[in-house]
């Protein structure tokens, strides 16, 4: 009896945590999403979400999140692959992770300086003869900084997947006459697909609701769902509409996790 009781007792912190910090907030968001600005129960927020303003917003958020994820993946996969080939791979990995310990806001402000009209990036362009141009407040700088921030989160799972890949499989592929490309596309990539999926989830989902960078780096020329949520909670105090957008974000995230979900392999 003692044992069972103790086991249940150990469950308490976990259960309390999940209920208070995960389930309760989601239910609250859901509840608020059904309230109009006068606090009456209605579906008006959901109607509003399907107007052109919010649909365009959703599309543009998707587009930028997709770009950020794609570019992160294109950079991260070869990097992770090279890392597994280096001698002190964990040291190199650490060096890639270190920047993610620095506060996001601080990094964003640093980029304002670098991309500014008289910043380092423009000085360099001037030096190599291209001439200075506007970098700050463009789509380019927004995607660049977002990729910079998310890349460690993409590299880590891919690195882990590549690292745990059994090298004898690659040898076997070679012995059986597979070309390098075939080895990669038929052996390495499929076996590290779970790492890629995890990386994409970890990048795509927060990228959908980025809002601080949209103002600091993109000067509000890129607008995401996160911007709209921020405005509704802080400025209009229309918590209902803000929550409705949040509900849609949650739904989208579930959908993405479903789509990129891991198939259960039979034993």
């Amino acid at each position: 009896m003692d044992n069972k009781f103790l086991r249940n007792l150990y469950m308490v912190p976990y259960a309390v945590w999940i209920i208070v910090f995960v389930i309760a907030p989601i239910l609250l968001v859901l509840y608020y999403s059904f309230l109009d600005i006068h606090g009456n129960f209605s579906l008006v927020n959901y109607e509003r979400f399907f107007t052109s303003v919010y649909l365009k917003l959703t599309l543009s958020s998707f587009w930028y999140a997709f770009l950020i994820t794609l570019i992160s993946l294109l950079v991260a996969y070869p990097t992770a692959y090279l890392l597994t080939k280096t001698k002190h791979k964990h040291l190199w990995l650490l060096l890639i992770i270190v920047p993610s310990w620095i506060n996001l806001l601080l990094k964003a402000y640093a980029f304002i300086g670098i991309f500014g009209a008289y910043g380092a990036a423009n000085n360099f362009l001037e030096f190599i003869g291209i001439g200075s141009r506007q970098l700050l407040f463009t789509d380019f700088s927004f995607v660049f900084v977002a990729v910079y921030i998310f890349i460690p989160f993409m590299i880590l799972p891919i690195f882990n997947a590549l690292n745990s890949l059994n090298p004898t499989l690659i040898d076997a592929a070679n012995d059986l006459g597979a070309s390098r490309w075939t080895t990669f596309s038929k052996v390495i990539f499929p076996l590290t697909l779970n790492g890629v999926k995890t990386g994409c989830q970890v990048v795509f989902i927060p990228a959908l609701s980025l809002f601080m960078l949209t103002r600091l780096i993109a000067g509000n020329r890129v607008i995401t769902l996160g911007t709209a949520i921020e405005q509704h909670f802080l400025v209009t105090q229309d918590w209902g509409m803000g929550s409705t957008i949040a509900v849609f974000l949650i739904l989208i995230m579930f959908l993405i996790i479903r789509l990129t979900g891991f198939r259960k392999r039979g034993a």
């Binding site: 009209a117 700050l136 000067g219 509000n220 020329r221 607008i223 405005q231 802080l234």
Partner: protein, 355 residues
Amino acid sequence: MKKLMTGFIAIALVSALMLVIIDRLNAAQGYSGADTLTVYNWGDYIDMELIDRFEEETGITVIYETFDSNESMMTKVQQGGTTYDIAVPSEYMIEKMKEEDLLVELDHEKLPNLKYIDERFLDLAFDEGNKYSVPYFWGTVGILYNPEMLPGKTFTSWDDLWDPELKNEILLIDGAREVMGMGLNSLGYSLNDTDPEHLQEALEKLQTLTPNVKAIVGDENKLLMANNEAAVALAWSGDARDIMWENEALDYVVPEEGSNLWFDNMVIPKTSDNIEGAHQFINFMLDPEIAAINTEYVSYSTPNQAALDYLPEEMVEDERFYPSSELTERLEVYENLGQEMLGLYNELFLTFKMH
């Protein structure tokens, strides 16, 4: 079972100990003491030496806390918890706080220094008869520009911003009221207009400004203008003043069609447990000499007429920051348009941002 009991007792003891510590800490910080005053103000918006002087003169201990937006201030006051005795909201927030019954009525007999405030700034629509609030600082919204980057270009009207020569040079404020207000003003409408057709018209006019807009930013505009990143910015006069200390090339203009007149005001929230001390504090801040010292530090425009005598002449005679009554008559204070209208303003602003 025995072990479990000891565990429970240990937890209970630790909890009790923590309660005692919290209580001690609160007492040390004065949250429960009688002769303390909790002042809740914007960041860097008072000369801290004046707080010391107030403490010396009255024997009241001041606890000073800061906020960075009207909304977050109101949320904290609403939640209770801390006994704020003084807060400094902007005018539109005072209307909201009045509606929510969060303010204590002022006793004018305890505020003899109220007579020093310029009559232009008393008895305004957001608080008739100054029943709940006393103006602390005021200012305008206008155009901050860099003449060195734009030789020969002058600004007198909002329409000057639509000049094709300013392609990709303008920084806007990330605020729906400010930007929509600029659009409305440039069309000759009031910035408190609630006619949806006029608002739509303003949006369409603003959308033609898009090629000239470099970015829509928040407080970063200070940094950007100081570093010559952009030539023109929509700015609050207070911020403009700050940036002009940093970058002396800059100039500031309030367009002739009119613009916004804003106030930050001292109020006593319902959370106060030292209403007497709060009145003393407000009266202290209204003293002309004190107000002058504070104005020199904060460098915003003071509504205190008598304090102007204590300030350097070049500060007071600067028409950009102490505009004549002729101009202030054309300026409008934001009215609380109600949540529905504010929602519409924001949705239009969002549309503008998406272009």
